[in-house]
Symmetry: C2
Subunit: 205 residues, 2 copies
């Protein structure tokens, strides 16, 4: 991969995703990416015009890797499964929530995240505006919670978390319990939004 | 304010809050703060041991400035008012969501945010665990949404937002409409969580 032109845009994005996971968003620079691909930064810009575009492509990859969700026959179960797939995709890469949130804010991509959550809601809710705002609420909840967890993980790795909340990394059972509590809280929160939507739709019918 | 010792910890935090709003979190360094206070960085560390602690103090200031909320006689209205006060407090300072979220993740403060949201919920929900997880869901929704809006605002100011979503700053009416839509979406989302909690509590009674 030492010659310019010996790699594709997909190679660039795959390498960026690997560097993101290894070093975090703050240290994912076009310069580092070029060095990793063993090309001049100028050669990189031939594939990706700027860092925003690179992050949008990385973001689409993160969302694209979310597990496919079948129609579970119940709109609430299908929506929760879609939201869980997005949550897991964000959790799979360091700073995943930040990459996807910034891409969404810039209007550059990651639309698959909302579409995945809307799939189940659209089966139930005929009002497109209510469906959209409900799905966005779930997406903001997912982003806010995963962001929190990823900040915590990074702080843990730097050893700057206050003792009272720090998990003992030696204690696998405690770590597993924390993870289960996060999943339970997430499912509980999404469940409240879906039950609330049901109440709201029942009121207008 | 040129002599070391001529300022208090409160002065340090107020100045940090002003620099945050002016330059953003990425450019709020201990070095810049010391320069602004016209002291050596070493003098600054006498007041604040490290940047995490500084951000925790700034975070507590942001939350502390949230408008007080009266008991509105209806637990859902009181909770929404509390959540709105937190939202407005985060929106009042550049990168407010990021400062508060990172402080929460590190377990260093900003507990007032959750307490403010729990006030109304605790009036209604006797189960402390359900009340806590419900309030956390609302807080993650608030953080996720404000984070999104603040990333958008920053991107707007840098001119890197995709044309389809960019607001025309000349068009005050359009900007006001976008703001109103954000508030409506926020209130709708919180409303769904509260209606969902009501359904859930009714089911166990």
């Amino acid at each position: 991969m030492s010659k310019p032109g010996a790699y594709t845009r997909a190679d660039v994005v795959d390498t960026a995703l690997r560097l993101l996971d290894q070093y975090g968003l703050a240290d994912l620079s076009m310069r580092r990416l070029a060095a990793e691909l063993e090309v001049q930064p100028s050669a990189l810009y031939w594939h990706v015009p700027n860092k925003q575009t690179l992050l949008a492509l990385v973001s689409d990859q993160i969302i694209g890797r979310a597990a496919p969700v079948d129609d579970l026959g119940d709109w609430k179960a299908t929506t929760l499964a879609g939201a869980t797939a997005i949550r897991n995709a964000l959790m799979a890469f360091r700073d995943g929530a930040e990459v996807v949130s910034s891409t969404l804010a810039l209007g550059l991509g990651a639309d698959g995240a909302l579409a995945r959550i809307r799939g189940g809601i659209d089966q139930y809710c005929p009002d497109a505006e209510i469906a959209r705002v409900s799905a966005e609420s779930i997406l903001f909840l997912v982003l806010g919670q995963v962001w929190h967890e990823q900040q915590r993980m990074q702080a843990d790795s730097l050893g700057v978390v206050a003792p009272a909340v720090e998990a003992n990394p030696e204690d696998a059972q405690a770590a597993s319990r924390v993870l289960q509590e996060q999943i339970d809280s997430f499912e509980f929160g999404v469940g409240l939004i879906l039950a609330g939507l049901e109440t709201r739709m029942a009121a207008v019918r």
